[in-house]
């Protein structure tokens, strides 16, 4: 994929965000940087259950990968080892359960990242396919996050929280 194709694709993706009612804020390009693949990205945000989260969509040109992530700020560094293990236990349960999306803990940045990434289709980018994934992703992230907060702030048991989450499906 060349830069022009990538720019067209990113515009199509922004239109998908608009269609499902998620605003996009700004677009940026990282090009010709050492140790960094050429990337076009745009930011948006989501406010759900009183939590504001940043959404970043990135198109990595050379490996042909599209990535969408929701970033939540959380004071992970205040957790002790036992609480951290419980948090990892819950995140791992989510990550095991779902093949498409997963959680990453970024302790240094005090961030929790919910991530989806796929190879770009070789022939035809389908708006409907992208929107279908996006809707599911943008629902599932905040839903999981509400359970994560119950673990962090109410000290609820990770196995019970995971069972409750599964029961919602």
């Amino acid at each position: 994929m060349d830069l022009n194709q990538a720019r067209i694709l990113i515009a199509q993706m922004q239109a998908c965000f608009k269609e499902i009612g998620v605003p996009f804020v700004n677009e940026s390009e990282i090009l010709n940087q050492a140790n960094c693949t050429d990337t076009i990205m745009f930011r948006s945000w989501q406010s759900k259950n009183d939590h504001l989260a940043e959404i970043v969509t990135s198109l990595f040109i050379e490996p042909n990968v599209v990535e969408v992530s929701i970033n939540y700020r959380e004071e992970i560094d205040r957790l002790n080892e036992s609480d951290l293990e419980k948090l990892f236990h819950l995140l791992n349960a989510f990550n095991n359960w779902d093949a498409a999306f997963y959680w990453l803990l970024l302790p240094r940045d005090n961030k929790l990242k919910f991530r989806w990434a796929n190879l770009l289709p070789a022939r035809h980018f389908s708006d409907n396919q992208f929107k279908s994934v996006l809707k599911r992703f943008l629902n599932q992230g905040p839903q999981h996050y509400s359970y994560i907060r119950r673990l962090i702030y109410n000290n609820e048991d990770p196995d019970r929280l995971f069972s409750k989450m599964q029961a919602e499906y």
Partner: protein, 173 residues
Amino acid sequence: MKDKSSTKLSDKIKSCLYELDFHEMDEISENDSLKLITGVQDDALSVLMEIDCQLKTNAVNLRLIPSLEFKSSDMLAFYQLINTLNGTLMDIGHFSINESDKGFLLQTSIDYSAGIFDREQMIESIKRIVQQGLEGFKLLMEMLNGDQCPYQMLASYMTEMRENLQQDEKIIH
């Protein structure tokens, strides 16, 4: 009885697998899914590959399950290791721990809800996930069996990978 759409999709995936030289596979039909199961054999590792065509969601889930088992009770260290691996990899798959059988898993999913099957995308995704799986699982195996600090091993692995990448780029240019 198999659903027509899943049969069609599974036939397309089978054809992709044949192209990638996976000729032997089992087919398991369940309520909401049709699974194709095959194996990836490497020098020291044998890995089960499961391609799961979901009928309700029209998603195809690719899973790799290695014949690797860990015995450590220090789960926090394993969670951190997997988290670091996922954070470093940042590609199309993610690793996780299957706590019930003390094993590992690498998986990704491709959505076909719009009904458009992209053969090249599927072939490339299978190739990538197999390559990532073999590299990641080998690294985990070395960490499980070695006496070197897992983080140090991960760091040297990343350096090696970066050097390989730079060499590849030189060859391309």
